[in-house]
């Protein structure tokens, strides 16, 4: 009599404890580079082209390029004409921010999953996560060739590390306080720069101005963007129409037209006799108005991702519409769009270079101006001066894009 096999429980098959498959170098090369005649030809031609380009690039970087224009102007790149006597303020602000930033980072180690936590706590984590900045610091030290700069930058790294060690020790209950401390620290850093005979922000130049415009732009445009996104999803037809009109109008025109508007026309819109705001403030207004429309679209995506059951459940609990939005919908929507917001921040960071069009000496314009210095005119050093500015932009944008990818993984966006 045949056994009825359909009711039998399948035997558990023991997972063999296989080591991860690792191809031998020879097999790897054959599989990935020479898997067929076409592939082999592509590899050989590609290798020749890449070798040629790499040779030209390395030859430029280490042999033909004349970096003295960057070497002499390194401080100008960073801060422009910032009074050199007041530079201590800048260093103080940087040290304060790295200490608190390090603490905030150390605190976040608690909140990662246990398996990640171990990797987070290892000493390799900073290298893996901040290598663009380490490369940046090495390039700056190499270009400045000054032991003082090297020591100061090393100090910045050490401060961040000390902050991180301190942050790891903060008990989970204190996490909120560290965040508050960090925000207060940002305000304090700003005050250190401007207060008591410091340098007011309209006089900032160079990379410092680039960072100020991008940070100020994203912080100020965020609330406006959230309001516009809520307006666009609102059930009030008039408010929806206003929000849609604003968002689509701004997204349909280039940023530079808004900058021109701020530069040439903004003064006319103020009551007669009012002092026109400084150039930096006007640029900031243009960036905020522009970015808000894009932030609104990002936030709208997050709002759409919140399941309707959440709203229904909140209504069943008897929450008012304002409370539903503030306590149920927005927290979930904003959490889902953090990576996209970082992407928006990257765009803004890159777009601040357009401020040069209204005569602001941000990073790009400083690089251009160097070629006009008597010592360097007519020497054809544009590739070096612009190349360094491009490198600085690249470090910031690349690091942020990697951060956004990491956040996307950690928040599990798109995995549900």
């Amino acid at each position: 009599m045949a056994t009825d096999t359909s009711t039998l429980e399948p035997l558990p098959i023991p997972e063999p404890d296989r080591p991860a498959y690792r191809a031998k170098p020879k097999d790897w090369v054959r599989e990935n580079l020479f898997s067929g005649p076409v592939n082999s030809i592509v590899t050989i031609v590609g290798a020749l082209v890449i070798a040629f380009l790499a040779y030209r690039a390395l030859r430029f970087l280490f042999v033909t390029a004349r970096w003295e224009a960057v070497h002499v102007n390194l401080t100008n790149y960073m801060v422009g004409g910032f009074p050199r006597d007041e530079l201590w303020r800048l260093w103080a602000a940087v040290y304060l921010l790295t200490l608190l930033g390090g603490m905030r980072w150390g605190v976040s180690v608690h909140r990662t999953r246990p398996t990640d936590g171990r990797a987070e706590a290892s000493w390799r984590a900073p290298l893996r996560r901040f290598w663009p900045f380490i490369v940046f610091a090495l390039v700056v030290v190499g270009l400045s060739a000054s032991p003082v700069t090297a020591a100061a930058l090393l100090g910045v790294g050490m401060t961040a590390f000390i902050g991180r060690v301190a942050g790891i020790r903060v008990p989970p209950r204190g996490v909120r306080w560290v965040t508050i401390l960090f925000i207060l620290g940002c305000v304090a850093a700003f005050e250190v720069m401007v207060a008591f005979g410091g340098v007011p922000y309209p006089d900032w130049r160079g990379l410092m101005l680039t960072l100020f415009l991008s940070l100020g732009g994203i912080l100020l445009s965020f609330p406006l963007g959230v309001l516009l996104a809520l307006g666009r999803r609102s059930t009030f037809p008039a408010i929806r129409a206003l929000s849609v009109a604003y968002i689509e109008l701004i997204r349909g025109v280039p940023l530079i037209t808004l900058l021109f508007m701020a530069f040439l026309v903004l003064g006319f819109f103020l009551p007669p006799g009012t002092q026109t705001p400084s150039l930096v403030a006007r640029a900031l207004i243009a960036f905020v108005l522009f970015t808000a429309a894009y932030v609104a679209e990002v936030v709208r995506g997050g709002l759409q991702a919140v399941p309707n059951e959440q709203v229904e459940a909140a209504q069943a609990l008897g929450l008012s519409p304002v409370k539903i939005t503030a306590l149920i919908v927005l927290p979930q929507a904003l959490r889902a769009v953090i990576p996209a917001m970082v992407g928006q921040f990257i765009s803004l960071f890159k777009d601040t270079s357009l401020a040069a069009s209204i005569g602001l000496a941000e990073l790009l314009r400083v690089a251009e101006q160097i070629n006009g210095q008597p010592r360097f005119t007519g020497h054809g050093l544009q590739a070096e001066t612009l190349g360094f500015a491009a490198f600085v932009f690249w470090v910031g944008a690349y690091w942020m894009s990697k951060t956004s990818q990491r956040l996307e993984k950690r928040l599990g966006v798109g995995e549900r």
């Binding site: 530079i256 021109f260 026309v265 006319f268 890159k350 040069a356 491009a390 690249w394 690349y398 894009s401």
Partner: protein, 394 residues
């Protein structure tokens, strides 16, 4: 002792100050009213300020003579301002169109390369994307202009590529086709006829395939029809067109189409930058096609080419179109960065016109209107394409 109920209670409706519909209306009126009041206040300030400074608020300045000439066009400084704007719009359209074409080609090549099984090619493509995407497009454009194109050899010792391209710091000259003899208009007309006939043949072949299931070879048939008519017309009209090769003279180049250094730098910067974004879109769209589709295609015994051509790419294309249109829009808007390198497109010309003493508010208003027009045109085209291509699920 009957107490009369209030009127609203008898009608079964809440009082107006508790009626949700009334409150909603009121709230909207307050917000819109606030926006209108702020707008009027700003506009009033504008009018007062302009009046005090003696700036006119009408658009009469468009008819006055411009007072500046535009390089690379037949626009003279005595022509009216509005004609300068037309030249600017034309230049914006030219550089955006060329940029979109080149960025699409390079972007698709790099995006597909990133997915190549060849390790070297995939790595080189991701290096390109990661390097270019994270640098501001303005930095790339200015770099192309002052650090690459203006540093090329002068026209006296320009480099030549196969006689069809002459490269120097006064621009690029490319070989082109130009009319020779009187038959050119007739030839152009017959080319148009040929294109129409070819499309008709193509559609008929498709219909036939749908009806009978026999192989259609529609591309072959269409191209064949076009070529035959074109060749016949070419001979009949007596060789109406000829190649115009750039000839290097002592002071410049004759023949071919000349691109100014500004145009070349702007175009290069725009398409190099946008290509890195398009590459990511192409890659993402191909990866977004579900694995099951590829596995099913393999199970059916399709070749690698057939799998891509008939299964993966048609589905990837649908995912690709909205973000791609966004990139085309960005490229068009980024062409306004020509302000920095003096290529005379619409933003640059508006800036010059304002610099000549023409009123800024109107100038910028027109500029924004023109860009809105470009944006709306591009989104209208994509919506049209999108509607044709989206899945009909029912």
């Amino acid at each position: 002792m009957g107490v009369e109920a209030p009127a609203y209670r008898r009608s079964g409706r809440p009082p107006p100050w508790r009626d949700v519909r009334m409150l909603r209306l009121l709230f909207q009126i307050v917000v819109v009213g606030g926006v209108v009041v702020i707008g009027l206040w700003l506009f009033g300030n504008l009018a007062t300020n302009l009046d005090r400074q003696g700036i006119r608020t009408d658009f009469d300045y468009l008819d006055r003579s411009a007072g500046f000439a535009i390089a690379g066009s037949d626009f003279k400084s005595s022509d009216p301002v509005w004609r300068a704007l037309v030249v600017g719009v034309k230049n914006t359209a030219i550089v955006s169109g060329a940029g979109i074409l080149l960025a699409s080609i390079l972007g698709v090549v790099i995006g597909v390369s990133r997915l190549s099984p060849n390790w070297l090619i995939a790595r080189a493509a991701s290096l390109y994307v990661e390097a270019v995407r994270n640098i501001p497009v303005l930095v790339i454009i200015i770099f192309m202009y002052i650090a690459v194109i203006l540093k090329l050899p002068s026209i006296g010792n320009a480099s030549e590529l196969f006689g069809i391209l002459v490269i120097s710091n006064s621009g690029l000259v490319v070989a082109s086709v130009e009319a020779a003899g009187g038959g050119a208009p007739l030839f152009a007309a017959s080319l148009a006829v040929a294109a129409v006939v070819a499309v008709v043949v193509l559609i008929r072949r498709t219909r036939r395939f749908d009806r009978t299931g026999q192989p259609h070879h529609r591309v072959l048939w269409g191209a064949g029809t076009f070529l035959i008519i074109a060749v016949v017309a070419f001979v009949a009209t007596g060789t109406p067109v000829a190649m115009s090769l750039p000839q290097r003279q002592e002071f410049g180049v004759t023949g071919g189409i000349r691109m100014s250094p500004e145009f070349a730098a702007l175009l290069a910067g725009l398409f190099i930058y946008t290509a890195s974004h398009i590459a990511e879109i192409v890659r993402g769209s191909i990866l977004a096609v579900s694995r099951g589709q590829s596995e099913a295609a393999r199970a059916l015994g399709l070749t690698e080419f057939q799998r891509y051509r008939f299964v993966v790419l048609p589905q990837a294309l649908r995912i690709m179109i909205p973000p791609l249109a966004n990139q085309y829009l960005n490229l068009t808007k980024n062409s306004s960065l020509a302000v920095f390198i003096a290529y005379p497109e619409i933003t640059r010309i508006t800036r010059i016109a304002i610099g000549q003493g023409n009123p800024a508010p109107q100038g910028i208003l027109i500029l924004m209107g023109i860009y809105l027009f470009f944006s709306l045109t591009i989104s209208a085209i994509t919506n049209l394409v999108n509607r044709r291509l989206t899945y009909v699920t029912s």
